[in-house]
């Protein structure tokens, strides 16, 4: 199970500190949502038992600029997350097979509907369930976040769209263990397995993208391998 986190300078703790905590909490690795953060991944992977996924979170004001960033970062990074939150960005993200994850689609004025859910399923874009506001806010904002999560969950379940789960922690203190998130999910209407599966989806995505980025990969099912010379 992986958790997708912000690391210094985007968050309050460095990647190594969050990873140390994540290891103790029972995660196999972390996905670093890099906006400005760019730790030395090779060294960290060698030094710690925790895996690091070199991801980028694109924070663009509109689809035009997001599209440029997607083109730029796709070949460089192992995982591409687009920060949603407006209807235009959500729509753009679910129609782009090049994007792996649509983050916090319900944030702010963002909304979601059956058209987007179908597009996300067809293009394999993972929809993120953001548990952050449930964990860290209260009162009206939290009620709003809970009802948004419910709507999103009903759509994702009905259309069988792929999804990921994250608490979007900004420091090692905001990190929560998988069992705690599963317990919380159960209280707010998710299945226990659903939450854990959403955390496992990050590993599957990372593994798939790493395979695609490896040199032997040509297309799904086609790989460069040993062949016989016929001269």
């Amino acid at each position: 199970m992986y958790e997708a986190v912000y690391a210094h300078p985007d968050g309050e703790s460095t990647a190594s500190r969050v990873a140390t905590a994540a290891g103790r909490y029972g995660y196999d690795g972390i996905v670093v949502r890099g906006l400005d953060a760019s730790p030395d991944y090779d060294r960290l992977r060698d030094e710690l038992d925790v895996d690091f996924v070199d991801a980028v979170e694109i924070d663009a004001p509109d689809p035009e600029r997001a599209s440029g960033a997607v083109g730029n970062y796709r070949p460089q990074r192992e995982l591409l997350i687009l920060r949603g939150g407006t209807n235009a960005l959500n729509r753009f993200a679910v129609e782009q097979p090049r994007i792996d994850v649509l983050s916090r689609p319900m944030h702010g004025h963002g909304n979601f509907n059956h058209v987007l859910a179908k597009a996300a399923r067809d293009n394999g874009v993972r929809i993120e369930f953001d548990l952050g506001p449930v964990l860290r806010s209260n009162g009206g904002t939290r009620v709003q976040a809970l009802s948004d999560l419910r709507k999103l969950r009903e759509l994702v379940e009905y259309y069988d769209a792929p999804y990921v789960v994250s608490a979007r922690p900004r420091s090692h203190l905001e990190l929560r263990a998988p069992r705690e998130l599963a317990g919380l999910g159960e209280v707010i209407g998710f299945d226990r397995e659903q939450v854990l599966d959403g955390l496992r989806e990050w590993d599957r995505l990372a593994a798939r993208n790493r395979e695609r980025m490896s040199e032997s990969f040509i297309a799904p099912g086609v790989e460069r391998g040993k062949y016989e010379k016929d001269d």
């Binding site: 500190r17 140390t20 060294r43 203190l173 209280v187």
Partner: protein, 159 residues
């Protein structure tokens, strides 16, 4: 009042909880109990809170880390976990919480899961982002003091 016969007494589960904060935070039992009740009430409501009957038993804190035992009624452990996960601040200090394990007796709980993590061992001057800062060092973990709050780091960031 005369206490209940054994078969009528409630069955409890004890959760070993670990709390972590920045080194300047003051962690105490009263604040944690209050936040736990708030968290439970906001998440599972009055009836759920009454069922879970969450009570903080022991509380052992030193320099930004604490260990405690939370008692919950048997069968409500998942609700208790969820409520504990929703604690993000004690007073105004941000905290990280984790359930280390669950036992059927206080004794088993403290013997198995609470072993006293090392508190702050020293203060040290470090160079972080090309500036000289002070850091609180605990094993290989460092909390670097900056102009606007702390930054969590490890020894690896300074090699």
């Amino acid at each position: 009042m005369k206490h209940l016969p054994k078969h009528l007494r409630p069955r409890w589960r004890y959760l070993a909880v670990e709390i972590e904060a920045w080194p300047d935070a003051s962690l105490n039992r009263g604040a944690f109990q209050r936040e736990l009740w708030y968290a439970a009430q906001n998440l599972i409501g009055d009836s759920g809170s009454a069922d879970a009957d969450l009570t903080v038993l022991g509380f052992d804190s030193a320099d930004g880390v604490a260990e405690t035992i939370v008692r919950a009624r048997r069968g409500t452990v998942d609700d208790a976990r969820a409520a504990i996960a929703c604690i993000d601040e004690l007073g105004s200090d941000p905290v990280g919480v984790r359930v280390r394990g669950v036992s059927g007796t206080v004794r088993a709980c403290s013997e198995r899961y609470l072993h006293g993590r090392a508190g702050i061992s020293e203060e040290r001057d470090v160079v972080f982002e090309n500036e000289s800062r002070t850091a609180a060092v605990r094993n290989s973990l460092l909390d670097v003091r900056g102009p606007d709050g702390f930054t969590g780091a490890t020894q690896l960031d300074f090699e």
